[in-house]
């Protein structure tokens, strides 16, 4: 026979467990609301200055190809900023409703760091990778598209590496390697096989 006091203690403990669980969920939501970045998507800031040609390598899921288009725009003088601006413009295309290679709703690139003229680190936002569709071909098209568009702006570029929210990540969405350096020449050769 369980005494009434013991029953009350067990009931209090169970209630406390549920209350603590609820409080934890509340704290988690609160923390998420503080740390979440503003959902701006890949908006391209207007720049002033003379227009230059920018080549974008656009992926097309329908025929697994990369197609080049030229865009006229004023470009920043700093190479890193110039690369970031080109990738902003590229990703903005993918976020359009009729995109042939849709990305997650707020996909973007945080920064492009140049370690030297031949080595760049692209820091993608979490939405780019987390919401990316999973599959060898779709992931490869995204990576190749970013690398080759960056190369078109930075002619001396020889290798590229990716971070996601400043951290190394093993794969983009379960398939394509995101932890290693990409040889830009090898990417160009492999991309040529796609066409």
């Amino acid at each position: 026979m369980i005494s009434r006091k013991l029953q009350a203690a067990i009931a209090a403990l169970v209630l406390a467990i549920f209350a603590m669980g609820g409080y934890l969920v509340h704290l988690k939501r609160k923390a998420e609301s503080i740390t979440s970045p503003p959902e701006t998507g890949a908006l391209t800031a207007p720049l002033s200055g003379p227009s230059e040609q920018m080549v974008l390598y656009l992926a097309n899921d329908a025929d697994d190809s990369l197609q080049t288009i030229s865009v006229s725009s004023a470009l920043p003088g700093d190479p890193g900023e110039r690369g970031r601006y080109a990738l902003h413009t590229l990703i903005a295309r993918y976020l359009q409703k009729d995109s042939a290679h849709p990305l997650g709703p707020v996909a973007d690139v945080h920064d492009v760091y140049l370690l030297d003229p031949s080595s760049a680190v692209v820091n993608l936002n979490a939405a780019f990778a987390d919401a990316h569709r999973s599959g060898i071909e779709v992931e490869q098209l995204s990576v190749f598209s970013v690398v080759l568009t960056l190369k078109s702006q930075l002619p001396q570029l020889a290798r590229v590496r990716f971070l996601v929210d400043g951290k190394a990540r093993e794969t983009l969405a379960g398939h394509i390697d995101l932890a290693s350096w990409y040889d830009v020449g090898a990417v160009a050769s492999a991309a040529a096989e796609l066409k």
């Binding site: 697994d64 569709r133 060898i136 090898a186």
Partner: protein, 467 residues
């Protein structure tokens, strides 16, 4: 009051212990041994009953089609029909009624039967004899069982274990004990599991079995060695002979005439797999969700099993990196390939995007001959020495697939774990032929691709054997 507190604290600790043990528990599985495949199926515990998935159980055994209509599930296995209804015990197999010991279940569109009913249900559907060792969770289908007998021989003392078919157990030699672990062989008890011997070398032997496999343990009084003979049908456990301390004269070379033909061969030729198939993803990592209810990991494993059957049918030795829904890291997959002694590694993927079959090889540059001759290669460059073989294999496979009428493409990709595989390595991504993504799970579609791949791999194996 302090007594109440103590009880409450103990109760809380007990709850935590139960919760933590639940999370840490390994999934329980049944090992299935059939003439055409050896595999494992996960056990689903529902309402106090152990269940097994019908697709997991039947797919490796033959041609399976399933039709889900609301709460009703219809199966066609090698032409035999069976009907089930969610929440009902009664099932119809080949037109006859049959009662399961517990209700049939449909979970996430997949049918489950109580594991206790396997021995009664499977023979009715497959028309094959079935022997289920429930306690060990080992299921033997058809004439898959492998028997053994142990005989103690003297002068010198040795235990000779004979098997009804060739075996290749993992052998663990300890100080006074030898353990023979049979993971893939359908070894069953000889009828006398524990035997004691009155011998200065062999003390006793014992047979045990579990879902992980069977084990024969031999307890000894001296350090021992194990030799294989008769093409793997005989294992001989004998005492280690001490080497002479001061050899006075060089030994003559062993000649065939001097060899005792009754003595076991110490280094028998073993048959290594030609192909290692790696069904990508698994466990908590589903890969792509091809449809809201179809995960890539499921298609990959089903396709791997189908390809394995096609290769078996053509006599091509093949192994799988995973035979159940479990997660392997990229490095574990590469290590499996590199230690398998296989000639070709094939990673299997599926995608809802695009059409047909895509073949991928590593994007690394090929190693120069001087580099390739290096004893050590960095882990992330290990594939570079085998890249020419990988590319020629991919070209051959692509050529074999053209007969299917499907779009086929062959290219390089920065795909894990290809760069770390030391043998010829190709990844295959299966996409639907048209817009119907469900086609990826259809037996007809998978069969068409698997047959084409298996034919090419059989040709490659013949070429390798000829060389």
């Amino acid at each position: 009051m302090p007594k109440v507190h103590a009880i409450a604290v103990r109760l809380l600790l007990l709850m935590l212990l139960v919760l933590s043990s639940g999370y840490a528990a390994e999934p329980r599985r049944i090992s299935v041994y059939a003439p055409q495949a050896v595999y494992q199926v996960d056990i689903l515990f529902r309402d106090g009953v152990d269940y097994v998935g019908l697709t997991d159980l039947l797919e490796p055994l033959g041609r399976l089609e399933s039709r889900l209509d609301g709460k009703k599930l219809g199966l066609t296995f090698n032409g035999a029909e069976a009907q089930f209804q969610d929440g009902k015990r009664q099932v119809h197999v080949r037109g006859n009624k049959f009662d399961l010991p517990s209700n049939f279940l449909i979970v996430d569109g997949r049918g489950y039967i109580p594991s206790a009913s396997i021995a009664q249900f499977l023979p009715r559907l497959t028309d094959q004899s079935v022997n289920f060792h429930a306690a060990a969770r080992r299921l033997f289908v058809g004439s898959s069982e492998l028997h053994y007998s142990a005989e103690l021989r003297h002068s010198p003392s040795r235990l000779v274990i004979s098997f009804t078919a060739p075996v290749n157990p993992s052998t663990v030699i300890e100080k006074n004990r030898v353990r023979l672990l049979f993971r893939r062989e359908a070894l069953v008890s000889s009828g006398n599991d524990n035997v004691s011997y009155s011998d200065p070398f062999v003390q006793s032997s014992a047979f045990t079995e579990s879902a992980a496999g069977a084990e024969v343990t031999v307890n000894l009084l001296q350090p021992a060695t194990v030799a294989v003979a008769d093409g793997g049908r005989t294992l001989t456990i004998s005492a280690v002979v001490p080497q002479p301390q001061t050899p006075t004269a060089p030994k003559p070379p062993a000649s065939a005439a001097a060899t005792d033909s009754a003595q076991p061969q110490s280094h028998p030729a073993r048959q290594h797999p030609f192909v290692i198939l790696d069904a990508a993803h698994g466990g908590s990592e589903s890969g792509a969700m091809l449809t809201p209810s179809l995960a890539e990991k499921t298609v990959n494993l089903a396709f791997a099993r189908r390809l394995q059957r096609e290769l078996d049918a053509r006599g091509v030795p093949v192994v799988l990196t995973r035979i159940a829904d479990n997660l392997l890291t990229w490095d574990q997959r590469a290590v499996s390939a590199n230690t398998s002694h296989a000639s070709i590694y094939i990673a299997l993927h599926a995608s809802a995007s695009g059409h047909g079959v895509r073949l991928y090889t590593s994007m690394l540059p090929s190693a120069q001959p001087a580099q390739a001759a290096h004893a050590f290669m960095p882990w992330e460059l290990a594939q570079s020495a085998s890249l020419p073989q990988s590319r020629s294999t991919a070209v051959a496979l692509a050529g074999g697939l053209t007969g299917t009428g499907l779009p086929v493409r062959n290219s390089a990709a920065p795909l894990r774990p290809l760069n770390s595989v030391t043998i010829a390595a190709v990844a295959i991504e299966l996409a639907p032929s048209g817009d119907n993504v469900d086609e990826l799970a259809s037996p007809e579609y998978q069969q068409k691709v698997a047959a084409a791949l298996a034919s090419t791999l059989a040709t490659l194996q013949q070429k390798e054997a000829a060389q």
